[in-house]
Symmetry: C2
Subunit: 168 residues, 2 copies
DNA sequence: ACAAAATATATGACTTGTCACGTATTTTGT
DNA sequence: ACAAAATACGTGACAAGTCATATATTTTGT
């Protein structure tokens, strides 16, 4: 006697497969995996957080800059930095000083200790990027980023424009 | 008399441009934008959270299933669902019952109220997908997802494999 | 038949990110 | 020159994720 199943495994698998083609469902998972991988690699490379790593890297590459500059480069909200930086100062990685040119701004600069922390993490993170380039050709990466660009543009479109769309 | 600038704007812009080609830096921002757009649209479509929307949608498409099934479809950690579901039950969107086939499992099922909430949000969310298809061709979306697949695979590679990479 | 291993769920602790809003400072328009 | 607008930063409140670990139940191997 066939009892009615509580769940339909075939439907479930079909749904998972189908959702695999939905960019909006894939993005969270891919991003989460990227974050997790980054965190693991940073753990190996000295224990920095992702925000700390990005910030040290940016400061290392361009020199002192404001919180807003960092947020722009990292394409994130300034509040994320605003919260992370005092901690980084406490750890001795950066200094923060009021700008003389514009009293609203805070100039963030790398210290020697920050440079050291960067140097410990950098080789691991460079290896990650090298590993990525073994899996994707230069050409493919450009194309991939092209898609990300276009998706980004779509995601920042005014909401009304999306709501005006005719359903197919 | 030329004072030394506190920050080098050209370097900052160059850095931002350069990081624009780094998949690992783009991903967080693109994902965040996707989340924000989703939240806005859901706000318009009745005020569901993203997790709630995904869950109602999945239940609507496949019928009752376990927490693990939902997590697998959504490619997320089960704990996310484990935390969200009691709230959804409280709101009357779903029922949760212990499975008779396997006492460890919880069977989650949609209620009429859940179906109603889904129906309120669905048109807006469908319009979003339609709008995306106006910006990307079917072919391009397949290619885009292909890149996401490959990146996903890379991100889930054992860490040692990445560390063994020869730097270029 | 039962001990050991595996699986499903719950929960605490944490990170990354957003938005909204308040305050201080600078810029702009008249 | 000064009021109004814009900008930079800080902070509270929240969402969406992760991992680790604990408990209950089921499955497996002998």
């Amino acid at each position: 006697m066939d009892t009615v199943k509580e769940r339909d495994i075939e439907s479930i698998e079909a749904r998972r497969t189908r959702e695999g083609y939905n960019v909006f469902s894939r993005l969270p998972a891919v991003y989460a995996a990227s974050r997790t991988q980054g965190q693991h690699l940073l753990q190996i490379g000295g224990g920095l957080s992702i925000v700390e790593w990005r910030t040290l890297w940016d400061l290392r590459e361009v020199g002192p800059m404001t919180i807003r500059d960092l947020a722009l480069i990292q394409r994130s909200d300034h509040s994320l930095l605003s919260r992370a930086l005092p901690d980084m100062r406490r750890k001795g990685y950066v200094t923060m000083s009021r700008s003389k040119e514009d009293g609203r701004q805070t100039i963030v600069a790398l210290t020697q200790k920050g440079r050291d922390a960067y140097d410990r993490a950098a080789p691991t993170m460079a290896r990650r990027r090298a590993a990525l380039r073994e899996v994707f050709t230069e050409q493919e990466l450009v194309e991939f980023v092209g898609y990300l660009d276009r998706l980004d543009a779509f995601l920042r479109m005014p909401i009304e424009e999306i709501l005006e769309t005719n359903d197919a």
